[in-house]
């Protein structure tokens, strides 16, 4: 089947097998290997990306279901060389060790903050419970997400993530906006 998907601001058109998972499409066809696979039962959340601005486990979405959609991966978050506030908060709070769960954890955290711009500790813990981390014990992840919430007011969300033409042109020209 032929699909057209915009991933991190670039539009791709490809023939894909109907059974191809979105995560396989991202990794194997587009080389977006920043998004990883951690399980085969959609329990770990390592493959979390945004589909039209909302988090999905890309192992549970077929590539054909993403036809006509906009996908944002961990590789598309930074703008003009500036890290997304959630990325920065993960760094600042030592919220990662091996880093394998980190892309999914960051993408899920952004989605969480889009729904609740000031989550308390329990809300963060429940908001990321579909994403497993084996290294950090979660404490610093929770701290990072809440830290990012304070940085990001009035909140992240699909709007903040949309690759509008200005942004793309700016990125291509290497323009650094403050």
């Amino acid at each position: 089947m032929r699909i057209t998907v915009t991933v991190d601001g670039t539009t791709y058109t490809d023939e894909v097998e109907p059974r191809l998972l979105l995560v396989q499409y991202l990794r194997e066809r587009l080389g977006k290997v920043g998004t990883v696979v951690g399980c085969d039962t959609s329990n770990c959340g390592a493959c979390t990306v945004h589909l039209d601005g909302h988090s999905v486990k890309s192992c549970s979405v077929l590539a054909v279901q993403a036809d006509g959609c906009e996908v944002t991966t961990i590789e598309g978050l930074a703008r003009d060389g500036q890290l997304h506030p959630v990325q920065r908060a993960f760094h600042d709070n030592h919220a990662l060790q091996c880093g394998f769960c980190t892309p999914g954890m960051i993408m899920q955290s952004i989605d969480l903050l889009a729904e609740n711009s000031d989550p308390d500790e329990q809300a963060v813990r429940e908001g990321i419970e579909g994403n497993l981390c084996r290294c950090t014990g979660y404490q610093n992840i929770v701290r990072a997400v809440r830290d990012a919430a304070h940085e990001m007011r009035p909140g992240a969300g699909p709007e903040a993530e949309r690759m509008n033409e200005d942004v793309i042109r700016g990125a291509q020209a290497g323009v650094h906006r403050s």
């Binding site: 990794r27 920043g34 990883v36 961990i74 760094h91 880093g99 419970e129 979660y138």
Partner: protein
């Protein structure tokens, strides 16, 4: 010369990690990310049977399937695959079966590889597995350790004639380090005997294992998601007979290990052989279910303990009798894991008589091997549970009982009944601090109140005052334990002409933050900026020697080698500095990156010397034009971190639900290089230890099939399952290394399990409960409350309790 008294700028600072930049942006190099020209993909067919003879394998259909280049079975590899290595023959008469990477005639656990397909794409390789037909003749499964060693038991490996692999014994009377334990028990005023089950666990690192082998160069290059690239290279050479210098192993970004990637795996060997055979790069990446069912498991011991004491609480003897489940084969250090615990049952206590024996048993289950703590969590769990049980028996406050028996801070260095010499520690200080942070007395009051009014939610307080041995290990000690290698580590420094520094380490990080911590250490020692240092690791070409990362050894052993190399750089620079400044080397002092002529303000920076050495136009006679240096460090002793962990658990007596209300730990890991990293290690360790207490278990059904083969069934905790922790530290420097540091990687896991179980038992002891088997699921806790007393056997096989998956009994109990 540079000394420890020098003002320290970087060490001790909570530096944000260098590693993060690539990890938070997706610029990662996981093995599965690697793609090479002409690369093929492999898929494995695994046995669904736990124990069976292979009578026939028909691969003809698979060979015809599109994109398939090769289909191989064990028979095809029988002559080339060798036997997977076991580096730790714990006794001279240890029985060790042949361990083929791919089963040839017989499978001995469910998940063992029986065939492999190599195809153009991963999807085509997996599709072709369907075209392989294997006929099995079922053999009786061997699942229970006690039954396995009974007379007339079915045998896992009939040719060995027994399911006992080895029995390893330490006896303090025989060793001359203490008394006779049977006499101590016979003459004791009080004895307590308990049997604990260390359930089988799965390391469950987040990155599934992956391996890529490229045979197209002069050296065969293997990328692998491994903790041990150096050991892997050596073992590939020794197992397959390939010349060592023709093999290069790279551990690129590795997504966690926890001992689970301390292995030479069947998959690595098979991928190597197939890539060689086909002359093209081959990649194999396991699925999560393959990982859970066939990558090595951990723990799985039955622990029988007898503790002898006087009425006043003085412990007079400890006897430990273990059965340890090896699974079907002996992997790299399988037999040695329980033996690592032998030195730790006496823990922080002065125990005058001690006996340890462990019988290693084969079963038709996945092989066990190292998992975070490896032997020491088992020991700590058992002794800390026993101290609570003894306190209950004596009617003593459990912390007072511990204090009565522990080594006082003024008694260090202290040689224990199990022959180790603890260099330093201060159990009083850590405990006092933990009690205060925890509000120990306040919680005890609340506990009494709740008990008095018969609250349906009871409060329990769990204590774990632990120590561990880490920094594996002095080579002579490993030699005395018949381990197959030494315990040294290698490090090197390359001084670049522009003043930048490359640090080479044999440690192989997979999340620990070595790039950051090593940079801090070298920045201080050489007086160069943190940012100017690059740490190279995990590639046998760039870091040529090493023994890799496990056993909390990287900082206490690996970083010491780096430090020693840095000192050699300074020594090499000194005569050149003297030459440049026209003075005697004896007049120079080195500080803050500069050689200064004593008593003057004339100085030369070490980076200027690096440039002068590069030019080499004007060097003293006989001095080589290089500041580079390397060093190999062999520790003289282990390091012994310790700490006091306190857990308050609320148990709903009507449902058996356990809620961790607060958890305080005060760890003493000596000097701290980076407090941020230390805290992170403790957090993660705590959760793994707590998960053993509450959630995780690898459960097999009666046919030997793993029922917890997905992350829906094997309950790795999520953020919502965990509380926040209060972590703090005391700092008693180790006296056995130059920085005064101790290991921290395993401490949290070792300490937390008994703290949680002690809290649960403490909450419901008045119902007559003296143990709850792990994991302490609501069902087990509830049944313990109902049944009182020994819950030990209880319902044993339900999987964790998460989604309630399958019932092995096939219906209502």
């Amino acid at each position: 010369m540079t000394t420890a008294a020098e003002p320290s700028l970087e060490v001790g600072k909570g530096r944000l990690r260098k590693e993060d930049a690539r990890l938070i942006t997706g610029r990662t190099r996981w093995t599965d990310n690697i793609s090479l020209p002409g690369m093929l993909h492999m898929a494995m067919l695994r046995s669904p049977m736990a124990h069976a003879r292979i009578t026939n394998i028909d691969t003809s259909e698979a060979r015809q399937m599109p994109g398939v280049l090769a289909v191989v079975t064990g028979a095809d590899l029988a002559d080339s695959q060798g036997s997977l290595p076991c580096a730790w023959p714990i006794t001279e008469d240890m029985k060790s079966p042949d361990a083929p990477s791919m089963a040839v005639n017989q499978v001995n656990f469910a998940g063992e590889v029986v065939a492999a397909v190599v195809a153009r794409s991963a999807a085509e390789a997996h599709d072709a597995l369907e075209g392989i037909d294997v006929d099995y003749d079922e053999l009786p499964v061997v699942l229970d350790m006690a039954e396995a060693i009974a007379d007339g038991a079915d045998l896992v490996h009939p040719d060995l004639g027994t399911n006992k692999s080895a029995t390893w014994v330490f006896d303090s009377a025989e060793a001359g380090t203490g008394g006779n334990v049977d006499e101590a028990i016979a003459s004791a005023e009080v004895t307590v005997e308990r049997t604990f089950r260390q359930q089988r666990l799965i390391p469950a690192f987040m990155e599934p294992r992956s391996v890529v082998v490229d045979p197209t160069g002069e050296q065969v290059t293997m990328w692998s998601a491994t903790q041990v690239p150096h050991i892997l290279r050596l073992m590939l050479a020794m197992t397959l007979g390939v010349p060592e210098h023709k093999v290069r192993v790279i551990a690129p970004d590795v997504g966690g290990g926890f001992g689970g990637k301390l292995q030479v795996t069947p998959e690595e060997v098979i991928t190597f052989l197939l890539a060689q055979q086909l002359g093209r790069p081959v990649k194999y990446t396991e699925s999560r279910s393959e990982s859970l069912s066939s990558a090595h498991h951990g723990r799985d011991q039955l622990q029988k303990l007898t503790i002898a004491a006087q009425r006043d609480g003085t412990v007079t003897g400890l006897k430990v009798e273990l059965l340890a489940d090896m699974g079907a084969y002996l992997r790299l250090v399988t037999p040695g894991v329980p033996i690592l615990g032998a030195f730790m049952y006496n823990a922080i206590y002065k125990i005058p008589a001690y006996h340890f024996s462990c019988t290693n048993v084969f079963t038709t289950k996945t092989p066990t091997d190292a998992y975070r703590g490896a032997g020491r969590p088992e020991a700590t769990f058992a002794i800390e549970r026993m101290m609570d049980e003894l306190a209950a028996e004596l009617g003593m406050e459990p912390l007072e009982l511990r204090e009565k028996n522990w080594i006082k801070h003024e008694e260090f260095p202290y040689t224990t009944v199990s022959t180790l010499t603890y260099d330093s520690g201060n159990y009083e200080a850590a405990t006092a601090k933990a009690k205060e942070l925890f509000d120990y007395d306040g919680l005890r009051r609340e506990q009494a109140e709740r008990r008095q009014r018969g609250d349906t939610v009871q409060l329990g307080i769990g204590i774990s005052t632990f120590t561990e041995m880490c920094g594996l290990a002095p080579s002579r000690v490993l030699g005395s334990l018949s381990y197959g290698a030494g315990g040294w580590e290698h490090g090197a420094i390359r001084m670049l002409p522009t003043g930048k520094v490359e640090v080479i380490t044999g440690s192989s990080a997979h999340g620990q933050g070595h790039e950051t911590a090593w940079s801090q250490i070298v920045a201080d020692r050489l007086g160069v900026p943190f940012e100017d240092i690059e740490v190279l690791h995990g590639d046998t070409q760039s870091s040529p020697r090493g023994l890799d990362t496990y056993g909390s050894r990287s900082l206490t052993v690996g970083a010491m080698a780096v430090l020693a190399a840095a000192d050699k750089v300074i020594e090499k620079a000194k005569p050149i500095a003297a030459h440049m400044m026209e003075c005697s080397p004896d007049d120079l002092e080195f500080s803050g990156g500069k050689f200064t002529v004593r008593g003057t303000d004339t100085s030369t920076g070490i980076t200027d010397i690096a440039l002068a050495v590069f030019a080499a136009h004007d060097l003293p006679d006989g001095v080589e034009p290089s500041l580079d240096a390397d060093a190999t460090f062999d520790p003289e002793n282990f390091s012994f971190p310790h700490g006091t962990h306190l857990c308050a658990a609320e148990v709903d007596t009507e449902t058996g639900q356990v809620r961790l209300r607060s958890y305080v730990c005060v760890d003493d890991v000596g000097k701290v290089v980076n407090p941020l990293i230390v805290e992170g290690q403790v957090h993660g360790g705590l959760v793994q230890g707590i998960a053993q207490a509450l959630f995780e278990e690898a459960v097999y059904d009666e046919s030997g099939t793993l029922m917890t083969g997905t992350l829906a069934d094997y309950l790795v905790p999520s953020a919502a399952d965990m509380p926040s922790f209060t972590t703090d530290r005391t700092e008693t420097p180790s006296t056995t290394n130059a920085l005064g540091v101790k290991g921290v990687g395993e401490a949290g896991t070792i300490a937390s399990t008994p703290a949680v179980v002690n809290a649960i038992v403490d909450a419901i002891r008045h119902f007559g409960v003296n143990d709850v088997e792990m994991p302490c699921t609501p069902m087990r806790v509830w049944q313990a409350i109902q049944g009182g007393a020994q819950s030990a056997a209880g319902p044993g096989s339900e999987s964790g309790g998460g989604v309630g998956s399958l019932d092995t009994q096939g219906g209502a109990r």
